[in-house]
């Protein structure tokens, strides 16, 4: 069960990314830490570190020798060596380290390159139109619940070749894995061990083996590593990863962008008048509202930026904080939808760059384009009714808006 944690009193020595203050608005916390102690520490979760400067976040992302990706979600119980057999990890390649990482990643990359993702744009656009059609006649709609959340969910279900009506099932799995950080690893594992998810995936795998399709499931089943078909655990782990990594992340980015536009009429008017600006605006929304904070485990005792890190310590890797570093982004807390120079790290840096970045960008752009076509004028019903997810994926979970 979730435990009630004491509130954070000092962010430099006792940070907690599930504290209500962080959940509501983490940016002032990171700004304060950036000037005070760029690498914060906490005894929570058995010991954890938090860099907040762009340079430090980048240095960790590039250092796969001192930081392992064996677990990328901070929780109460850190995995032991037997839980996640190195070097594959539970969900390759995100939980894999070099050299296995490159092999596992190489298998997946062709499915996520720009051209195959472009092919999914018509499906995504039709889906957005269908979702907007369902809101016809309403004066108030929830941009997160009624719109944003369905888009990446149904696109990944489509990519995997699973039945569209199973989309709700995945929403529950995702919530368990990413948002209930107070659950122990065992408690989370129990959900998986009840076999529901595995059984579901095994059934889809069996169907695809019997009758191969032109989809990601058959692509994975057909893939070879060193001349052998992938281990079933590898296939299942990768599918779980795609579901988990591909859904609430993009849902968060779409929701946060609509939340921003609901409050900024000048940006709405400009995008309505200059639709060709949308790809640039999408990058700025990704920078300013990057949803994903990753994590690493310290692989070996060593000194980083003057801090004595110990093997097994957690390190929270906040790409959203890197994106707000004023040393890299002038006027970093100000959203400028025409920002021309934007080396943001919303999709991470280094070898673990989000494999779905082309997909996420396409979904975000199409979702905003179709929304703006349908509802160029909209506003928050009540800013206090907007709620944000807790955990390492940050996005609004309810965004009631009044549409005209």
């Amino acid at each position: 069960m979730a435990t009630q944690r004491p509130r954070v009193s000092d962010w430099a020595t006792d940070f907690d990314h599930t504290d209500p203050e962080w959940v509501a608005d983490p940016y002032p916390i990171w700004n304060e830490l950036r000037t005070r102690c760029p690498v914060a520490h906490s005894e929570r979760y058995g010991g954890a570190w938090l860099p907040v400067r762009h340079d430090d976040v980048a240095a960790v992302a590039y250092d796969t020798e001192h930081f392992t990706s064996r677990s990328v979600v901070v929780s109460e119980v850190r995995p032991g060596p037997d839980d996640l057999p190195a070097p594959i990890g539970q969900a390759p390649p995100i939980t894999s380290d070099p050299p296995f990482h490159a092999l596992a990643r190489r298998l997946l990359l062709p499915a996520f390159a720009p051209k195959p993702i472009e092919a999914l744009e018509p499906f995504t656009r039709e889906l957005c139109v269908e979702l907007l059609d369902a809101t016809a006649g309403e004066r108030q709609i929830d941009a997160a619940v009624d719109y944003a959340q369905h888009i990446p969910l149904r696109v990944i279900v489509k990519m995997l070749g699973f039945p569209q009506e199973d989309a709700d099932l995945f929403r529950r799995f995702i919530r368990i894995v990413l948002e209930d950080v107070d659950q122990s690893a065992e408690e989370r594992q129990a959900v998986v061990d009840e076999g529901e998810l595995d059984a579901y995936i095994d059934a889809r795998i069996a169907e695809h083996l019997a009758d191969p399709q032109d989809d990601l499931t058959s692509f994975l089943l057909d893939a070879e590593l060193d001349g052998n078909k992938l281990d079933p655990d590898h296939v299942r782990g990768t599918m779980v990863l795609l579901m988990i990594a591909g859904i609430d992340t993009t849902w968060s980015a779409i929701g946060a962008s609509l939340w921003h536009l609901a409050q900024n009429p000048a940006d709405r008017q400009r995008l309505a008048a200059e639709p060709e600006l949308m790809p640039t605006a999408v990058e700025e929304f990704l920078r300013a509202y990057a949803p994903v904070t990753m994590a690493r485990l310290v692989a070996t005792d060593f000194d980083f930026r003057g801090r004595q890190m110990k093997e097994g310590d957690w390190l929270l890797l906040p790409f959203p904080a890197a994106n707000r570093d004023p040393e890299h982004f002038p006027d970093a807390d100000n959203v400028q939808i025409d920002r021309a120079e934007n080396r943001h790290a919303a999709f991470g840096l280094g070898i673990h760059r989000c494999i779905g970045s082309n997909l996420a960008r396409m979904e975000l752009r199409v979702a905003l384009e179709e929304w703006m076509k349908r509802y160029p004028d909209f506003e928050l019903v009540d800013p206090t009714r907007v709620t944000w997810s807790a955990g390492q994926v940050r996005g609004p979970r309810t965004v009631p808006v009044r549409v005209r």
Binding site: A113, N342, R343, G350, I351, S357
Partner: protein, 64 residues
């Protein structure tokens, strides 16, 4: 002007390809490479600079 992608630094963010498809392409794995030996046709200098300024990995450079 010439553009150059450092293949050691490129991680396949595909920003250059999105911003300047006249100057860059990507392989099946999403890794970028420069077209036309990196020679930037006249009139596309701003696009080349934009690709440099938007590469998260600092993998692209231009030389005059």
């Amino acid at each position: 002007m010439r553009v150059h992608v450092d293949p050691e630094k490129c991680q396949g963010h595909n920003r250059c390809y999105a911003l300047a498809p006249e100057l860059f392409d990507v392989d099946d794995l999403g890794n970028a490479f420069e077209l036309n030996d990196g020679v930037v046709p006249e009139g596309l200098e701003a696009k080349a600079r934009s690709a440099v300024a938007n590469c998260p990995e600092y993998a692209i450079s231009v030389s005059e």
